[in-house]
Symmetry: C2
Subunit: 446 residues, 2 copies
């Protein structure tokens, strides 16, 4: 910590014996932009530790009259105007307003006037991470975003620095706490997706418009950041397949349980380097073994696994969201800046390759669930089409008690390329006995 | 990476266009000291990546004629004499010989002549970590030891930097792969400790003298390092209670299973700050829930959890030993040095506090297993003593089929201070019906 004093203090204090001047000069001055749940946690924790190298000096938010927290120290300057932050003596801007705009412009402006930036903004980093890191590097400042993925779990530093010596080829995770809450709820209580979603909304875990969570967009932004950090590949969010968990029904958990499995929203990216660099990546509901570590993540917990050529599979898990855990990630980033000489921005190198191809196809076993008007010959019709595409059926499961008018049954398939299976499913979808479109889920065994 | 070139190259290359000079000047030159399993993995991985910032230049080991690996590049200089390494132009010494001496002297010498050091030596770091870090800092060099705990799992960087923003008060883990192999083997196959140990020895997982592993000394050294890194407390190994797993019998797994639990060697440290700073820490076999994440660690896997005031519990798991995973940790440390300006040694601050007290006492439920010559009044005698110490019995379990001459049964106790329980057990131990001394295990529920 002592080291950073000399680099942070523009001029040596005239009276080094004067206690106030020295300790103020030693501290990293922090402007908090966005005073919601995470912002409030960051402020609370920063103001509890007055001996450390971090000093909260500014808070910027709309309607500060309403937001102003009288319990925070008097020296903090409150403002509604981001220009005040830019003009201030703050060393670091903590951006917690989220979304692409104005957050993106503000982060760029802060870097351009010579401030380091810490952000929890997954959308912004997944969209513009490499560009912003280039800008930070050019300005001799730091951009840190440990809080943008998996909240309090140190997945980015763990993967990017802790596993720097490995050659990672696979990243998998449960990256969205809302989906995990909904799916573990459905699993435990046997409720429908709609009922579990409503409960998540009532508890504040899900938004009124839950699309970003349940359709996979939130997890996708995080996966893009992990792909850059761990696989060193640069992809755009829209290149990554997303499938909604909203098509999962209570009956799927019954069948999954018969298969000693459960269902989770899994974010998965796999890199294959041969002559070309190919990336397979998707965010989707999938069957995973009930005894697996992934299945262990309950409620809003997150989990990230990284698999490398040398170190095998390493796992990080913990609380992926919430004010305090996310604040821990933000403050850990602030400490990293305080420790550094302030001149580097090494995290997430801008030199990540662009893969030659990106697909959502994995060669894995699959789970197919049908709801049909029962009549003779249905299985034969399905088997004929699957055989045409060289896809082998592994097992056929049918729970008793369904009406003939909406009979549900499940086929599991041996490992096959999901692109080939999708073509078979298109053909299967045209058969006339479906009451609902068939549901197809990959089965991830490890 | 480019940044470090200017700081590493003492003089600018005279012909910057000459490819060889430039690329050689850009690299961090590495001397490997100790060419065993981990050393060979480090050499293999370093020599596969010729474009990176790391260049293996020296290998030092005894009997190099026998050890010399002809597949490694010709430019590597082999030596049996550590003084050659000290006199060389290597920037970093990777110490992989293990043990306190001569490793300690060599690390000190390397730092004193201005080389950074990477080590996997848990004994040395647990014994002399703060002193060596002070020396590194004084010399403007780095000392990194990510490989000293939990092999390939980035637990130290994850806890020390990734969770820097939290206030950690608890560290727990499965830190010894040999014990975990033996105990998971006993659990699965119902074998005795001796049989499982013999298998571990046959497979090369356990040493001929297994004491360091099974008696907890290996895990204790790692726990000391994690206590320093995460709880910021400075303790000596001998202050930490160790209990051997050799007293665990096959029957204990039977009883544990009836309690939906299993048995693992658990390293646990808990910090309590009130007016004084108290540390409770121990390495011992313990009952843990069969459904817990800890119980999930199979065979030689390791797991580390860190619990903080703000971020809750965060978990790291993966392969804690073996050549390649440990090499990943070593090489990740080398990358960290390559990225840095080489002037800081921030990890594991020497400023960690010395706790006011260190004990091995936890207030938790306990498992007591007795093997007795059966006769009336045994339970009454035990219950009377326990009641005297205000300890409540939770349940009494007795599997059928034991002979009267060596009847085994189990008591579980409600949460009580293990120091108080130990006094009760001393008294209980003096009763005359024991065939074997009673076994007491803590039950860790979370």
């Amino acid at each position: 910590m002592v080291k950073s004093r000399s680099t942070k203090t523009k001029k040596p204090a005239k009276k080094p014996a004067a206690k106030k001047a020295v300790s103020a000069g030693a501290k990293l001055k922090i402007a908090l932009v966005g005073f919601g749940t995470v912002g409030r946690s960051v402020a609370k924790i920063l103001c509890q530790d007055t001996n450390g190298p971090l000093l909260l000096t500014h808070i910027c938010n709309r309607r500060i009259k309403k937001k102003k927290d009288a319990s925070l120290p008097k020296h903090i300057r409150w403002t509604e105007n981001f220009d005040d932050v830019l003009a201030s003596d703050a060393d670091v801007v903590v951006e917690l307003i989220g979304g692409l705009q104005p957050a993106g412009d503000w982060v760029r402006k802060a870097l351009r006037v010579g401030k380091s930036v810490v952000t929890a903004n997954k959308l912004l980093i997944s969209e513009a991470g490499p560009e912003l890191l280039d800008l930070a590097r050019k300005m001799g400042k730091r951009l840190e975003f440990g809080a943008s993925v998996a909240g309090g779990i140190p997945a980015i530093i763990g993967i990017q620095e802790g596993l720097a010596g490995d050659r990672l080829y696979k990243i998998a995770g449960i990256l969205n706490g809302t989906c995990n809450f909904i799916l573990t709820k459905m699993e435990k209580d046997g409720t429908s997706f709609d009922a579990a979603l409503k409960e998540a909304q009532a508890l504040g875990y899900a938004e009124a418009n839950p699309s970003a969570d349940v359709d996979g967009l939130d997890a996708r932004a995080k996966l893009v950041i992990l792909i850059q950090a761990g696989l060193r590949l640069r992809v755009r969010s829209e290149q990554i397949l997303c499938r909604s968990i909203s098509s999962i029904a209570a009956v799927d958990f019954m069948y999954a349980s018969s298969l000693d499995s459960t269902i989770r929203q899994i974010s998965l990216a796999q890199k294959e380097t041969n002559k070309t660099v190919r990336l397979a990546a998707a965010v989707q509901p999938a069957l995973i073994p009930a005894a697996s570590l992934m299945a262990h993540a309950q409620g809003s917990q997150n989990i990230v696994t990284a698999t490398g050529e040398f170190g095998g599979k390493t796992m990080f898990s913990g609380y992926g969201a919430g004010g305090d855990p996310t604040a821990v990630a933000v403050i850990s980033d602030l400490y990293a800046i305080a420790r550094s000489t302030g001149a580097s921005a090494e995290a997430l190198p801008g030199t990540a390759e662009v893969p030659d191809s990106v697909s959502g196809d994995f060669t894995v076993p699959h789970y197919l669930r049908f709801i049909v008007r029962d009549r003779p010959g249905i299985v034969a019709a399905l088997a004929t089409i699957l055989a045409k595409y060289d896809i082998s059926i592994d097992a056929l499961l049918q729970k008793p008690g369904f009406p003939h008018s909406a009979l549900s049954f499940v086929m599991t398939l041996e490992a096959c390329d999901s692109a080939v299976l999708n073509r078979a499913l298109e053909e299967i979808g045209r058969l006339d006995f479906h009451v609902e479109p068939p549901l197809c889920l990959p089965i991830f065994l490890d």
